[in-house]
């Protein structure tokens, strides 16, 4: 890649610049700043769309009473039961059980707080079923 070909396709970096290696006019390698690259942006946006549609699908199930609100928070944070069980210090089967509305309702306050802390929210927020799915506000 020549230095003057280094892509500057701003999309995802929030003004951040990454550096990459490129060849200058004399054929030597130099570091050049890049604002992003279209193909990488496309692939990344695609990945976010997948996450977004998954979160929406989970929220529908939560609202329909098929899953507990914990499932919604889990999906928002791109987690699965295995990953969440690691953070919660529980067995995977326990987390899977808590994804069902019935067992979730019977959870003790201490356990709810434990889950809520992982997601950096309060226990009340964890139990609330939101109107629409939001993943933009995770980035606090």
């Amino acid at each position: 890649m020549q230095k003057n070909e280094v892509p500057q396709d701003e999309a995802l970096f929030n003004g951040m610049r990454e550096v990459c290696y490129a060849v200058d006019d004399s054929g030597r390698y130099v570091l050049a700043e890049s604002a992003g690259w279209e193909p990488a942006n496309i692939a990344n946006i695609q990945a976010w769309e997948v996450i977004r549609s998954e979160v929406t699908a989970v929220l529908c199930k939560v609202r329909a009473g098929e899953l507990s609100p914990l499932a919604y928070q889990m999906a928002r944070h791109q987690m699965n039961a295995k990953l969440l069980s690691g953070y919660a210090g529980l067995f995977c089967w326990q987390v899977r059980r808590h994804l069902k509305p019935g067992p979730f309702r019977k959870l003790k306050a201490a356990q709810l707080t434990r889950y809520a802390t992982i997601f950096k929210i309060s226990a009340e927020e964890l139990c609330r079923i939101p109107e629409s799915s939001e993943i933009g506000d995770i980035q606090r």
């Binding site: 951040m16 610049r17 290696y21 060849v23 193909p39 990488a40």
Partner: protein, 335 residues
């Protein structure tokens, strides 16, 4: 008292941490040199490891291995530690910082608040340097960022104990002793020999240039095997693995080319320069693959751009890398 650290922005986190830490300890080393000596160039298509249900492709050796090899080959003393408990891990970090020692560590990207939101996935093999503490905040030199940043203790503790694949477990490392002078030439040869070995002669079809060919065969079959929609997902994931996660396939080829250029000067052998140029061309070819693939993802594929053509590009990458590394291998074997 404000601690200073020679922060340089680099293309890749692990090699950047090595280069910056060594520079701090009075041994200026470039990122490309660290990458080459550590034998970082690699290819592996590992469909049995799934990330969000999609197969893993890697263009570099296992996280941490570049650091281990560079320090071993250059005779640098390192103290490493991992922890089970986050309070202890943070206390150990504070002890080093109180002595004025910058500490490198592994962390999960997802919990680092200073990262651009769009890049925050559950990726645990990120590396950064903590070089000071101000009140409850840590001063961090993250080599993929332009400037040093400040991070709250609670967030850093979370990132150090991220869960999932490649969990860092609070892993941290710092340099304890350095040689008076760096003897680069033998280390360069060792690094190149290792890259050649991994890329050319691992008896396993998913690794090295054989792995690239294997991936090419798979890409060709994706639409029939997975259906169009899944095939596009797989392709997008492949491009992300190549271009986003850890600088990517083409990026690593360019870093290696830069390394060969430096090696030519140190070893006094012009042949490395020519190989460096060819490596640059291979990197460009990988980028062509990403461009064509991304057009597919967008549904803008033109004529002569189906999955078979994509796999054709991959086969050319494989063939060219194979030829180049074979030459390189014979070059470093010379006494």
């Amino acid at each position: 008292m404000n601690p200073v650290f020679p922060h340089r922005q680099t293309a890749h986190c692990e090699t950047g941490v090595i280069a910056n830490l060594l520079t701090y300890h009075g041994l200026p080393l470039s990122e490309a040199m660290a990458f080459g000596i550590g034998g970082g160039l690699f290819f592996g298509y590992l469909p049995f490891i799934r990330i969000n249900g999609l197969p893993l492709t890697t263009f570099r050796t296992a996280p941490g291995s570049i650091f281990n090899r560079v320090t071993k080959r250059l005779g640098i003393g390192v103290a490493r530690s991992t922890f089970r408990d986050s309070d202890r891990a943070m206390a150990a970090l504070d002890r080093y910082l109180a002595q004025g020692v910058p500490v490198g560590m592994q962390a999960g990207v997802y919990w680092l608040p200073y990262f651009p939101p769009a890049l925050r996935f559950h990726f645990n093999a990120h590396n950064l340097v903590v070089y000071g503490k101000r009140g409850d905040d840590y001063l961090i030199s993250d080599p993929v960022l332009g400037e040093p940043v400040v991070c709250a203790a609670a967030d850093l503790a979370r990132a150090r104990f991220a869960q999932g694949a490649l969990a860092p477990k609070g892993k941290m490392y710092c340099i304890t002793s350095v040689p008076k002078q760096l003897d680069l030439a033998p280390a360069i040869r060792q690094g190149i020999r290792e890259v050649c070995r991994y890329m050319l002669s691992v008896p396993f079809p998913l690794i090295g240039t054989r792995g690239i060919r294997y991936l090419a065969n798979q890409v060709e079959r994706w639409p029939a095997k997975l259906g169009d929609q899944r095939a596009i997902l797989y392709l997008g994931n492949q491009i992300r693995m190549q271009e986003e996660i850890g600088t990517g396939g083409a990026g690593f080829r360019f870093i290696f080319a830069a390394f060969l250029q430096e090696a030519a000067d140190i070893l006094g052998d012009g042949q490395f320069l020519e190989l460096s140029q060819r490596m640059t061309a291979i990197g460009d070819l990988w980028r062509d693959f990403a461009v064509a693939g991304a057009r597919h993802c967008k549904g803008r594929a033109g004529q002569g751009e189906d999955f078979a053509d994509l796999s054709h590009i991959l086969r050319r990458c494989a063939a060219q890398e194979d030829a180049l590394l074979r030459e390189l291998s014979s070059l470093v074997r010379k006494p």
